[in-house]
């Protein structure tokens, strides 16, 4: 007796999964994407492009995206950005408010209706200003992991990755530097998933721009010295996958936290709470700028 949520009237097609929803729907009944994106894009008369920020749980996707959006809103670099709708501001507001109070933002739930979505009109200034409408969702790492392990577990992930005009793959550089293999395997899995979706021939390589961002550089400052070298040395499976199947890939390092402390009472059972003592932004804008240049 699983219900269906067939709309009473055909109305608006979801931009992400292309399922029809009623005009009143706030979220898509199929994939939970906010229908405001569709309404805003119709109002703008533009077709937004989608940039996906993917990575393992707790790698820092929410913090990265929150700061990126806030930096864009503050006209960092050559960028000018206009959020379309209050929902687009919620993520950056949450991230900025938490970090300003030296807290990490709450974990992103797997339930897609609770994800943050941002729809921004972005201009890269220059001799020939470039305007792009971008949609960027803040996906839960666990949902990504479940989808790439068992495709179609979360249809919204599949739709998002299918539609992405560019991908930012975030990897925990601190873990990789410590010799953990999990970041390498996760990256390999997600690129393999994307490659399978692309379904290219043996000698064809994926052209969608993919920025590999080594996060949490504050744990491992050396990562900033030579990001590709770091990947080749510490994430060799990923490196080889990129070389074999991805034509348009670049490597970056990024960091948000300048110094990390830990609040602990010293009791064995006490949860040690990481405290971002201050921010020191490095490398947030560069991978995004590279993606924009490729679009």
């Amino acid at each position: 007796m699983s219900p269906s949520y067939a709309p009473e009237t055909t109305g608006t097609e979801c931009l992400i999964c292309h399922v029809q929803n009623s005009q009143d729907a706030v979220l898509c009944g199929n994939c939970s994407a906010p229908m405001a994106i569709v309404h805003d894009s119709i109002a703008q008369g533009r077709s937004p492009q989608l940039v996906s920020i993917v990575g393992e749980s707790n790698v820092g996707k929410t913090v990265y995206l929150g700061f990126l959006l806030d930096m864009l809103a503050q006209r960092a670099g050559d960028f000018e950005a206009v959020p379309k709708g209050a929902y687009s501001i919620d993520l950056q507001q949450t991230v900025i408010n938490h970090l300003a109070h030296r807290l990490f933002p709450p974990k992103t739930p797997m339930e897609a209706n609770q994800w943050y979505w941002a729809y921004y009109q972005i201009c890269k200034r220059g001799r020939h200003p470039k305007w792009i409408d971008l949609v960027m969702p803040d996906m839960a790492g666990e949902s990504l992991a479940a989808e790439i392990t068992t495709p179609k577990t979360f249809r919204v992930i599949h739709s998002l990755l299918t539609m992405s005009a560019g991908t930012l793959l975030l990897i925990d550089a601190g873990q990789a530097a410590n010799g953990a293999t999990q970041p390498d395997f996760f990256a390999l899995k997600i690129l393999s998933y994307i490659d399978t979706m692309f379904a290219g021939k043996r000698n064809e390589r994926m052209r969608t721009p993919t920025a590999v961002v080594l996060c949490k550089g504050d744990y491992c400052p050396e990562v900033f010295d030579d990001p590709p070298g770091f990947v080749e040395a510490n994430l060799n499976r990923l490196w080889n996958m990129c070389e074999s199947r991805f034509e348009n890939v670049a490597f970056f390092a990024a960091s948000v936290v300048g110094s990390l402390g830990y609040a602990t009472s010293g009791d064995v059972d006490d949860v040690v709470v990481p405290v971002p003592l201050h921010t020191a932004l490095q490398g947030i804008l560069e991978p995004f700028e590279w993606i924009i240049d490729q679009l």
Partner: protein
């Protein structure tokens, strides 16, 4: 108000007197549904059912961190794992933010087996990021075993609660789980009679469950106490496909037929706007109708009011094959006629005799009802005849 404490109060009125001055309800009819205990089920175990099990929560391991099935019994199938992953609540995923909040989900898996899960908060996540970690213990039951165990997910959930366990999440490696023997609880005490508001709620919820739409029910502390009894009157065939959640935050993608929410429902309201999901708050005046099965509903209402709901339960348990609304309505008419037999005069008995002398039975159950009616009509004729004869004899004397 935390629904669990409200329920406990409803179940155990002696635990703390109701304080009307604090806005607490003084109309909880504890005597009507004393048995359905969310925290403590009043029924006794009558046996066990062996189930597959899985634990879905957030814990670090060599295979990755975050929410996933961290351990499961070997008999759990791949598509079942996927469905449990898709449906289980993740971070902060319960309606209440109180640390002792609990949630329940029940749904059919793609394999046809039935899943019942119990969720609770399990402290902060290992990353210590904000929000509360949710720990879900899910059991998966074979279809036959589910039916043999009463096919009542609320009661099976009570059994699961009595034997649930929390694995040590501080470890980085989790051994596979074995199957688990879940106690089959006997039905809690049934109400002797339902009346007024409670009777209305009961029938409304039944209409919501039997209809085609999805419903969100707000006011969990009152409504959940009807759930166990409610499921008992749903035809067994429909119970096998029932999907419901209690105390778990709402998302469209969970695809539950009946969701009981509590507390701040704004997110659910946002999610359901423009979709074919109805909201019902007991006492809000909105009537849930199920026109297709109106006659069946009317019979259930009358039986519940008369304290004879167990009769409906007995019938429901026998409805193994799919039972569409017209079939239920026919059964309702048969049930009414069977009742009428008992107080019928000779003329009515003659009409019933004529009506059912060659009435076609569209199902085994209908056939049995018709046979019962025929038998009772004959018996009643005999009774009346004997009574008339004895009256004649008395008159002759």
């Amino acid at each position: 108000m935390d629904y669990r404490s409200a329920l406990n109060r409803a179940i155990r009125p002696s635990a703390r007197p109701i304080d009307v001055s604090r806005g607490e309800s003084s109309t909880v009819q504890t005597a009507e549904f004393p048995g359905i205990a969310w925290a403590e089920h009043a029924g006794q175990a009558s046996g066990v059912v062996t189930c597959e099990q899985a634990v879905f929560t957030s814990a670090p391991s060599p295979m990755g961190a975050g929410y996933r099935i961290v351990s499961a019994s070997p008999g759990l199938k791949a598509d079942e794992r996927t469905e449990i992953t898709r449906r289980s609540p993740s971070h902060n995923g319960l309606c209440s933010r109180q640390i002792d909040a609990v949630g329940m989900m029940a749904y059919v898996l793609p394999s046809g087996r039935y899943c019942i899960s119990h969720s609770h908060y399990a402290g902060a996540e290992h990353t210590a990021r904000g929000g509360q970690r949710v720990y879900t213990h899910a059991i998966v039951i074979d279809t036959d075993a589910y039916r043999q165990a009463g096919a009542n997910p609320v009661r099976l959930h009570a059994g699961l609660r009595s034997c649930t366990h929390t694995i040590d999440l501080s470890r980085r490696h989790f051994d596979p789980l074995a199957t688990i023997d879940v106690p089959i609880m006997r039905p809690a005490l049934r109400p002797s009679r339902l009346s007024g508001e409670r009777l209305g709620q009961f029938v409304q919820l039944l209409a919501a469950t039997m209809g085609e739409r999805s419903w969100i029910v707000v006011g969990l502390s009152q409504s959940v106490s009807l759930l166990e009894g409610l499921v008992d009157v749903i035809p067994l065939s429909a119970r096998a496909a029932l999907s419901l959640s209690v105390g778990v935050s709402y998302t469209l993608t969970r695809q539950v037929r009946l969701a009981f929410l509590e507390g701040d429902c704004r997110e659910a309201q946002r999610a359901t706007r423009g979709h074919d999901v109805r909201w019902w708050q007991p006492g809000d005046g909105q009537l849930i109708d199920w026109e297709d099965g109106a006659e069946w509903l009317a019979v259930v209402r009358d039986y519940a009011a008369a304290g004879r709901i167990s009769r409906i339960s007995q019938i429901a348990e026998r409805l193994v094959a799919p039972t569409p609304a017209p079939t239920l309505n026919r059964l309702a008419r048969l049930l009414r006629d069977l009742d009428r037999v008992e107080r019928a005069d000779e003329q009515l008995l003659a009409e019933l005799h004529e009506k059912y002398a060659s009435a076609p039975a569209l199902s085994t159950e209908e056939g049995e009802f018709i046979a019962q009616i025929q038998s009772r009509v004959a018996a009643r004729f005999a009774e009346i005849s004997e009574r008339n004869q004895s009256r004649d004899r008395e008159g002759a004397y």
